[in-house]
């Protein structure tokens, strides 16, 4: 990656402290028990057990085709598991009420191009039960966060790729979720925009929002509190970036990934 992201150690420490406070008495954000998904004879996810704490910025790192997106869909209840359980914010999935507390952003932007940015937001806000002044206030707030306020009344078709990505992120933040689940939030995005999205994510974490994202970019993984390495549907290691480097005795996440995952990273 051409752009080097700034070190974030201070912020990490800060939020870890707030994590401690939030965590007490709260069930984990995500709890997976022996989660398995097979399609016919093909095993896409194999006995994944994982606990993601409240307030964490957790990265799922793995090459394309390793099962990251399937795992995200399992967590959201969009796809039924073949075995094992998913518990989301203390609620055993699949259950509809948990979705009210989760913000989700898929790989595709999933916007209605005929509609303006505002109309897209109004629509999704209504699905989350927001209306009237509250809805207006939330739309103003998320658009300010992703810096799209001046483009509110433009049709989404006229947005650039990066603007669509940011609008998509704004949609996932509308209902003030406790947990953000982002599938490859920075894929196909230029370095400048990538940095701005990361700044937004870090700001959200600082507010105590749990963030789980998938990525196959190694230096992004370095900025997470903890990383889970996925290869061929198996969770091969879960640790802090530093911990992974130490365990493997390597200097970078990339090398650690290859050493721990057993194979070549893409």
């Amino acid at each position: 990656m051409a752009d080097k992201l700034p070190a974030l150690s201070d912020q990490t420490d800060q939020s870890n402290q707030s994590d401690e406070r939030k965590r007490s008495g709260n069930p984990p954000a995500i709890e997976l028990r022996k989660l398995t998904r097979t399609y016919g004879s093909r095993t896409v996810l194999s006995e994944i057990s994982l606990e993601i704490r409240r307030g964490e910025l957790f990265g799922l790192l793995g090459p394309s085709g390793s099962g990251k997106t399937t795992l995200v869909k399992q967590i959201m209840g969009l796809d039924a598991p073949s075995g094992g359980t998913v518990t989301l914010l203390g609620e055993r999935m699949p259950v509809r009420s948990a979705l009210q507390r989760v913000g989700y952003m898929a790989q595709s932007d999933a916007l209605y191009n005929e509609l303006t940015g505002r109309e897209n937001l109004e629509f999704f806000a209504s699905l989350y039960g927001l209306s009237g002044a509250r809805r207006k206030e939330r739309i103003g707030s998320v658009m300010k966060l992703v810096d799209l306020t001046e483009h509110l009344n433009k049709p989404t078709a006229a947005y650039s790729g990066g603007m669509k990505r940011r609008l998509s992120l704004a949609v996932s933040l509308l209902h003030e979720p406790e947990l953000l689940l982002l599938d490859e939030p920075t894929v196909g995005i230029d370095p400048v925009l990538r940095r701005s999205i990361w700044e937004e994510l870090l700001a959200l974490r600082a507010r105590g929002i749990t963030i789980v994202l998938t990525t196959h970019v190694m230096d992004e993984a370095d900025r997470c509190d903890r990383i889970g390495l996925i290869r061929d549907g198996k969770l091969t290691a879960v640790d802090t970036p530093e911990g992974l480097k130490q365990t493997s005795g390597k200097a970078t996440i990339e090398e650690a990934f290859i050493a721990l995952g057993g194979g070549t990273a893409t």
Partner: protein, 347 residues
């Protein structure tokens, strides 16, 4: 609440999409108008050739509505018939009149045959004036006063068909696009219920469906002058129910399609067979076992009701079975649709 938001979104999207609006509202009117001009034009006069025919008889043929061409030699007439200038050739062999038809177009042959038979029947009647018994047949019509053109006869079916066809296509594509652009997955990640998605589509599309059904019905009755003997409200009700079936069927089938092109592929499989069984073509000649296929075709019930109302002035009691069947089709498709959304979300 969520269903209303979905309906509002669909209406907004449609309002932005002028071309799709035009397809929904103007395309049916255009096709109906073309149909009107094709099937409602001047009455066709068959060209009938005669060889050495009495002047009086020729005059009768002319009065009956034929173009009579008189030839002096049968060879000359035969050539004209072969070249397609004549539809029929009337000669006399001894005392017996003899008719030779051109034959390549059954409808023209029939028209010529009918006209000649009528003309000759008058002949017989005149010959029998002395008889106490009159051979004249008194003809009257139960429906339509004998003024119905072919357009009047299948127009009601067309009105129903266009509502059905265009709504099917648009609903199918719109629902499918939701899947291909990823917005369906995004919807499923919100706390929306599956039935709220389906009802949102029903309300949003329903608005346009009612408008379209009304426009098509009013245009064909008041502008094209389609024969109309019954209640306009029943016509609108039937048309709306047909569109509802099309809407629910279109969205249901779109879950079995991966691309817009695959929606188009449903047309020859789902739409075209229904046209054949809708009453546009007379099915009496068909194998009775095959005729029963029409019972599973929604368009058959809609077309039957439309014809009953517009041509025979039938009331609700007469067409209620059709109405109930259309409703049952819609409800079945809606339930299947809600169930098929399980493919998009595990619950």
């Amino acid at each position: 609440m969520r269903a209303r938001a979905l309906a509002l979104r669909i209406i907004r999207q449609f309002a932005r999409d002028r071309r799709t609006l035009a397809l929904l509202f103007l395309a049916p009117l255009l096709v109906l108008t073309l149909m009107y001009f094709v099937f409602n034009g001047q009455e066709v006069k068959p060209d009938i050739g005669t060889v050495n025919y009495p002047e009086a008889w020729q005059e009768k043929l002319d009065q009956a509505g034929a173009h009579v061409h008189s030839y002096s030699s049968s060879a000359e007439a035969e050539v004209a018939l072969r070249d397609g200038k004549l539809d029929a050739l009337l000669t006399t062999e001894g005392n017996q009149p003899s008719l030779r038809l051109e034959g390549s177009d059954p409808s023209k042959s029939k028209a010529a045959l009918l006209l000649i038979q009528q003309a000759l029947q008058q002949e017989i009647r005149i010959d029998q004036t002395s008889s106490a018994f009159s051979a004249k047949l008194l003809v009257s019509y139960e429906h339509g006063e004998g003024k119905l053109t072919s357009f009047d006869s299948f127009g009601p079916v067309l009105v129903g068909f266009f509502s059905f066809f265009f709504v099917f296509l648009l609903a199918g594509v719109a629902f499918l696009r939701e899947k291909t652009t990823g917005t369906m997955e995004r919807l499923m990640a919100t706390p929306i219920r599956r039935y709220e998605i389906v009802s949102g589509y029903l309300i949003g599309f329903g608005v346009f469906t009612i408008l379209q059904a009304t426009l098509i019905a009013l245009y064909s009755i008041h502008v094209l002058g389609l024969y109309m003997d019954g209640s306009i409200w029943l016509v609108l009700l039937t048309n709306f129910l047909l569109s509802l079936v099309a809407l629910t069927l279109g969205t249901l089938l779109s879950s079995f399609a991966g691309t817009e092109f695959q929606i188009i592929q449903f047309i020859p499989i789902v739409i075209v067979p229904q046209v054949f069984f809708s009453g546009l073509f007379n099915l009496d000649a068909m194998n009775p076992w095959l005729q029963k296929l029409s019972y599973v075709m929604p368009l058959y019930y809609g077309a039957d009701a439309m014809r009953g109302i517009m041509l025979r002035g039938e009331r609700f009691a007469d067409i209620q079975l059709n109405i109930y069947v259309l409703l049952a089709f819609s409800i079945a498709f809606i339930l299947l649709n809600i169930a098929s959304l399980k493919k998009q979300r595990a619950f």
